[in-house]
Every structure is written in C-alpha cells, then in structure tokens.
Amino acid sequence: MWGFYFNELIRSLPFFIKGLWMTVAVSGLSLIMGTIIGFIWGILRASRNKILRSLIGAWVDLIRGTPFLVQVFIVFFILPGIGIELEAFPAAVIALTNLAACFICEIVAGGILAVSSGQREAATASGLSAYQQLRHIILPQAMRTILPPLVGQYVLLVKDSSVVSAIGVVDVTRVGWLTVQRIPEGIMVFGLVGILYFIVCYPLINLSNILERRMTVGATRL
C-alpha cells in the first residue's frame, strides 16, 4: 500500500507546488507591506509624541496578546459584518500584514532606542533636521540591532502563514489537508509539507544566524 500511496503523492506534486507558491505569495506580500508599515509604526513608537506612542503600543499589545488564528477569523468573519466583504486571500494578507507590522514595529522601536542618546544630541547640535538625524545618524546604527531579529521574524511569519489555511486559502498546509483525505498516509503527506516549508525557512534561519554573527563582530570593532 505504501508504494501505491507514494506514487499517488508523487502524482499530486504539482498541486503541492501550487500550494507552496500560494504560501510564498501570501507571506511575501504580507512581509513587504508589513515591513514598510512596521518601520513607520516603529519610528513613531520611538518618537517623543506620547499619544501616538501609547496608541501604537496598545494596538501592538492587542495583536501580540491574541492568537493569529483568532485574528484571521475576526478579519474574515467580522469585517463583512461592517460592510467590508473580503475573499479569503485578501483577508489572509490583511491579517498577516498587520501581524508582521506589529512585530516589526517592536523590533524597529527597540533598535532605535538602543542608539545612544549622545548620538542624537550631537546630531541636533550639528544642526541636522529630524529627518536627517533619522536618515543619516539613527537608522544606519539601529539597523545593526534590527536586521538579525527582523530576518528571524520573517521565518516566524512564513510559518504563521500556515494558519490562513483555516479560512480556505489553498496554501501548502491546506493542500496537505486536502490530500490526506485521499491518501490516508499522514506521515508521508505532512512529511512532504514539512520539507516544503523547510526549503523556504531554512535559508532564512541561516541568513539570520549569519547576520547575527556579522553584526556582533561589527559592533565590537567599533
């Protein structure tokens, strides 16, 4: 039976590749938008504006305090109730983008606050505008602290994207779930799903480790 199911599985490989492409599309789109929004929120969160700071902080807390699955359900089931009709794919991208933005916001804010205040004071004393300070003094130094956890966060988000299969987005996990109804060899089917995720995630994990080593070496050299 094993051999028969294995052949069946090989024959449905194109289906899995399609699912992998969906996973990459959902997480890729969300990561790009989430990074942009996350940087903006992070910069605001590290700013001196108290209201903005605590508003963003409260939102980030709400998102970090609830499971992603519940957030996906809220976007998918509740937004239509207030007149925003969404297909599964955009709902998934919205939920994942928001999640990414919240986590990246904390990383960016942490990185900016880690830059010593003397740098900012010196920049102010040299007459740089707020934008110039951020662009030329603060962010380049903050990137050292931001980059390694940022890539690590990308890995977590690619993995979190599997949750959107629950609202019917046909990503790799969903393909596995559909296939296992037909080929009742769970270990084989989800072994394949695992391998496909591994192919996407493992290079990112390594990149994160390399960055971490590089950045610490760079920091000691300063």
Partner: protein, 222 residues
C-alpha cells in the same frame, strides 16, 4: 456596530466560555511542563560531547523550528493513526505543542548556559565546588535571570499556539468562538469574546514577566 453587538448571547454562552478558558489553561500548562522537560533534555543532548547525541538533538530542534506548528499538528493528527497509534485528540494536541515548544525552550536554555563565561566555571572548579554546587550557585542563578523573560515570552506563544488545537476539534477558547459562529452565526460576539479571554492570560503573563524582571534581580554574566 455596537448596537448590533449581542451581549445577551455572550452571557448565555458564558459557562461554555469559562469551561473552554479552563481547558485552554490546563492544555497550555500541561504542554508547558512537558516542553520545559523536553527543552532541558534536548539542550543537554545538544551540548553533549558525543557527536551522534548532539546531532540527533540538532535535527530535532532545526526541523521543529523550520516548519509551522499547524503542519506538525496535522502530521501527528493524521500520521499517528496511519501507523496504528490511536490517541485521543487532546493527547495528540498536547504532544505536538510539547514537542514544538520544547525545541524553542532548548534554544533558550542553551543561550542562557552558554552566556556564562567559562572562566567562572573554571573558578568554581578551582574553589573546590562540585558539579551541583557550581550549577546551584554559579550557573543556574545567572542563567535563570537571563532566560526568565524569553521563557515567559515562549509561554505566551504557547498559550496562543494552543488555539490551533481547535482545528483538530479540541474544545478550547477558539473552538468556543467557532461554535458561536456556526450555531448562531454571531462571529463578532464569538471571536471578540475569545480574544478577550486570551488577552486576560496575555496581560497576566506579561505582568508576571515585568514583575520577575524587577524582583528577581540577577546580574548579567558580564
């Protein structure tokens, strides 16, 4: 939207929610205990001098960290019966959560132990402390102080991850929201209440995390 919000239904379902809240709590607590145990064992194996033992643990940690929990959950849920192991759903769920968080705890414990400079351990040996005394007075107090925050962070992740157990039809908080959605078609009431319960756990753990940082003052290792 608020006038459409039906608080009466929430009250009616409150006993179910409380029951599910407790279920989430004890499913997470059980998995947390298991994960700590697995994490410590895996970390000890990872740091072992034997190549084979170390790489077994390495393969475990890396394969867990580079695949999503949902795929792991389905792997066991569909995979175990296909090799003839029949377990109740909740056992499969706790098993998957334990193995998943165990890999992360292994990394947290390892980072804590490795952060202690070897000179301190050598000094301990030179002062005539035996293995347990070195563990008790030199390594653990510092390692615990450094890792208590990431450990509580992982506990928060674990509680949120337990929401995925709803997808293999285990009764817990997220499942309660799904029930309210399918029985009464009230997703807003269902999932927002679910989210509120998760937030209770989140803020408690977060409060504990900042309390422990203030109270358990461990000096860093360098």
């Amino acid at each position: 939207m608020l006038e459409a919000f039906n608080f009466r239904v929430i009250l009616e379902y409150m006993p179910l929610y409380l029951q599910c809240f407790l279920a989430t709590l004890w499913l997470s607590a059980l998995s947390l205990l298991g994960a700590l145990l697995v994490g410590i064992i895996a970390c000890t194996m990872r740091l072992s001098k034997s190549r084979v033992v170390s790489s077994i643990s390495g393969v475990y940690i890396e394969s867990i960290r580079s695949t999503p929990l949902l795929a792991q959950l389905y792997f066991f849920y569909f995979g175990l019966p296909s090799i003839g192991i029949m377990l109740p759903e909740w056992v499969t769920g706790v098993f998957a959560l334990t193995l998943n968080s165990g890999a992360y705890y292994a990394e947290i414990v390892r980072s804590g132990i490795q952060a202690i400079p070897s000179g301190q351990i050598e000094a301990g040996i030179a002062s005539g402390l035996n293995y347990f005394q070195r563990m008790r007075y030199i390594i653990l107090p510092q390692a615990l102080g450094m890792t208590i925050r990431p450990m509580l962070g992982q506990a928060i992740v674990l509680v949120k991850d337990s929401s995925l157990l709803s997808l293999i039809s285990i009764m817990e908080l997220t499942r309660a929201g799904q029930l309210l959605t399918s029985d009464r078609f009230m997703p807003a009431e269902g999932f927002l209440t679910t989210a509120a319960f998760y937030l209770i756990i989140y803020y408690m753990l977060k409060g504990f995390s900042s309390w422990s940082e203030k109270r358990l003052i461990f000096r860093e290792a360098h």
